[in-house]
């Protein structure tokens, strides 16, 4: 096995982060009712860098109460005004982009290269997108006959609960907060316990923008703060991104309250490389190689991580040689160093889990093509959670081909025909993302249509622009984020059925 490629740059300065953060409830900083805080550990070095409030039911109830107080006026705020405030949030984030990118890197462990180029720019654009679409949004009206008119008007659902994952702490929070606020809802947000800090740094910056109670953030542990939020009978909706068991549990709670939910529950995304990819050794071939290596983006901690490479057997050698070479060239190092390409896994338990999958892969007889072990970094990173980007070759029935490892691990297998590629691609519990790479115009349309997944990237991968609907098929959940259709997941339809006929119907 080759050695790890290391970053050469010095880390940039650490941003100033407070020793501890309270909850943000009703427009104010509120100490946790328990008086307790928990340490937030940076994956960079395994050391605590700040503390978060340990929220409980009392705090959650306080936040829901504040949101209910804010709702009557927020729900009637004009679209123009809501839009203005969302744009203001975007502007503030843009002004503080570098600071927030550094905080995000410390909180989550991902490379600064990514928080600068992806997380923060997407956060900013996402707020602007939802600020814009509500200005062009219209309800519908239909004339049933000359005396009867039906008006279908949008009304916000009310106070919603939003549970945020740790893989893109600010971006995933934005995916949920922006459409909810745009739709006129008030929200109580519970960030993941691994990454409770960056969102509070953001809240400090935007604390005065929104009316008190419109946006509330309560930190804490899932069973102590997440559960009271998910079970509260005072919420009109719960939105969740996470894994299947908690997804089921939240739906179970929602069924008791008869409220809707949206869920994004992960995947095991196939990335299919057709034979024509290697027809020429050109820019497109180079792009396809990069597309295969996208499994290492965000250390593989992406629900759409292209964790299964399906490559035509005729091009396996020429293609994978380049993929392995490119993977081995990924620079590991301090996430705050500007040339580091891949940072640390987000937490110790995540790190241990990924290592356990490396063992399962080897035990199951998968062939290790590169990586396959932890990356022993030094210079203060000894206790961070670093894993070498790993490629296994095997078959689709292996556990490493079926389970979301959520680490920088990809499994490659070959196919002989398009039918076989589709059979392998669809042989999974999940259906979130997929990739299709081809130079053949017919395949470019037909193959994506046959893949059972909500998002198929065609000749690209892992881009997340606003205005492209994103969500799952199968056990990957439901709801479509990133798009104006998400507004309808936060709204009711009020139908006014109006008669302009002066005459009675004649029944009675």
């Amino acid at each position: 096995m080759t050695t790890t490629t290391l970053s050469q740059s010095k880390p940039v300065d650490r941003p100033e982060i407070k020793e501890q953060y309270e909850h943000f409830i009703g427009g104010e900083w509120v100490a946790p009712s328990s008086g307790e805080y928990f340490e937030n550990i940076s994956p960079i070095d395994g050391k605590p860098f700040s503390k978060a409030a340990r929220g409980n039911k009392e705090d959650i109830d306080k936040a829901i109460e504040a949101a209910h107080k804010a709702f009557p006026s927020w729900s009637k705020t004009s679209a123009a005004n809501r839009s203005k405030l969302l744009n203001k949030i975007a502007d503030i984030i843009e002004e503080n982009q570098e600071h927030l990118a550094r905080v995000e890197t410390i909180d989550n462990g991902k490379a600064l290269r990514e928080t600068r180029a992806a997380d923060l720019p997407l956060v900013i654009d996402h707020f602007r997108y939802f600020a814009s679409v509500i200005r062009a949004d219209e309800s519908s009206i239909s004339e049933h006959d000359e005396h009867t008119v039906s008006i279908a008007l949008h009304e916000p659902l009310g106070v919603v609960g939003q549970i945020i994952p740790w893989n893109f702490p600010l971006l995933m929070a934005t995916w949920k907060i922006a459409p909810a606020l745009a739709a006129g809802c008030c929200t109580v947000v519970k960030p993941a316990e691994q990454t409770p800090t960056s969102i509070m740094v953001l809240m400090e910056l935007i604390a005065d923008v929104l009316p008190p109670g419109v946006l509330n953030v309560v930190t804490g542990f899932g069973p102590e703060a997440g559960k009271p939020l998910a079970t509260s009978p005072r919420l009109a909706k719960v939105s969740f991104t996470g894994e299947t068991t908690t997804g089921r549990l939240i739906m179970q709670y929602a069924s008791e309250n008869l409220v809707p939910v949206t869920m994004e529950l992960g995947g095991k995304s196939p990335n299919i490389f057709m034979k024509s990819v290697a027809d020429a050794d050109d820019e497109f071939f180079d792009k396809a190689v990069e597309g295969a290596v996208m499994f290492a983006l965000n250390q593989g901690e992406i629900c759409t991580c292209p964790s299964r490479i399906l490559v035509h057997e005729d091009i396996y050698d020429v293609f994978m040689e380049k993929v392995i070479e490119r993977t081995n060239a990924i620079k590991l190092g301090h996430p705050l160093a500007e040339d580091t390409m891949m940072g640390a896994q987000a937490s110790n338990d995540q790190y241990e889990k990924v290592l356990s999958y490396l063992k399962i892969g080897k035990d199951e007889g998968a062939e290790l093509l590169c990586g396959g072990e932890k990356a022993d970094l030094n210079s203060g990173l000894e206790n961070g959670y670093y894993i070498r980007p790993t490629i296994f070759k095997g078959h689709n029935k292996m556990r490493i081909f079926q389970e979301e490892i959520f680490g920088p691990v990809v499994c490659v297998t070959t196919f002989k025909s398009t039918e076989e590629a589709l059979e392998i691609a669809n042989d999974t519990m999940y259906g979130l993302g997929a990739g299709l790479w081809s130079r053949d115009a017919h395949e470019l349309y037909q193959v994506p249509r046959a893949i059972q997944a909500g998002r198929v990237w065609v000749n690209c991968y892992n881009t997340y622009p606003a205005h492209a609907p994103f969500g799952g098929y199968k056990k990957s959940g439901f709801g479509r984020e990133n798009h104006l259709m998400m507004l309808d997941h936060y709204r009711q339809t009020k139908n006014m059925l109006i008669s302009y006929d002066k005459n009675k119907m004649g029944f009675f």
């Binding site: 993941a192 316990e193 996470g242 068991t245 937490s347 241990e352 063992k359 389970e403």
Partner: protein, 130 residues
């Protein structure tokens, strides 16, 4: 017969602590999918409603252990050991506030073991037979 799920001593101690703290029996459901997925979730018994889509793999330290059936199809050739590791998790699993997380180690059954595995049950049947 070879059991499908084992538990380490450390994990047993954690289960004992949690049982005492919550004053109730506990259960496990193996999760799939992203973020904190592919980890065993520990709940107060009955808090998570198992149903026709779940399978019962056995008991660990007197706690039922369940998994969804479609996931089990891909897991059934491996023996699972429930262990604990320091960490945060991010789910409703009840050990998380202790700063530790249940996790799974897996091992392939040998051909011999595979012929004589402890039987699985429909989840609902396993609950009723108690």
């Amino acid at each position: 017969m070879t059991p499908r799920v084992l538990v380490t001593e450390k994990a047993k101690n954690t289960i004992d602590t949690l049982r005492k703290r919550f004053g109730t029996d506990l259960m496990f459901h193996q999760s799939g999918g992203c973020c904190d997925g592919s980890s065993p979730m520990c709940f107060e018994k009955g808090d998570f409603k198992v149903g026709g889509s779940d399978i019962w793999l056995g008991k660990i330290h007197d706690c039922d252990f369940f998994m969804s059936k479609d996931q089990f199809e891909y897991w059934k050739h491996t023996q699972l050991t429930v262990d604990i590791t320091p960490g945060r998790g991010s789910s409703f699993s009840i050990e998380i506030p202790m700063g530790i997380r249940f996790m799974i180690h897996s091992r392939l059954f040998t051909d011999e073991e595979f012929q004589d595995l402890s039987p699985v049950k429909e989840a609902e049947e396993a609950i009723q037979s108690e």
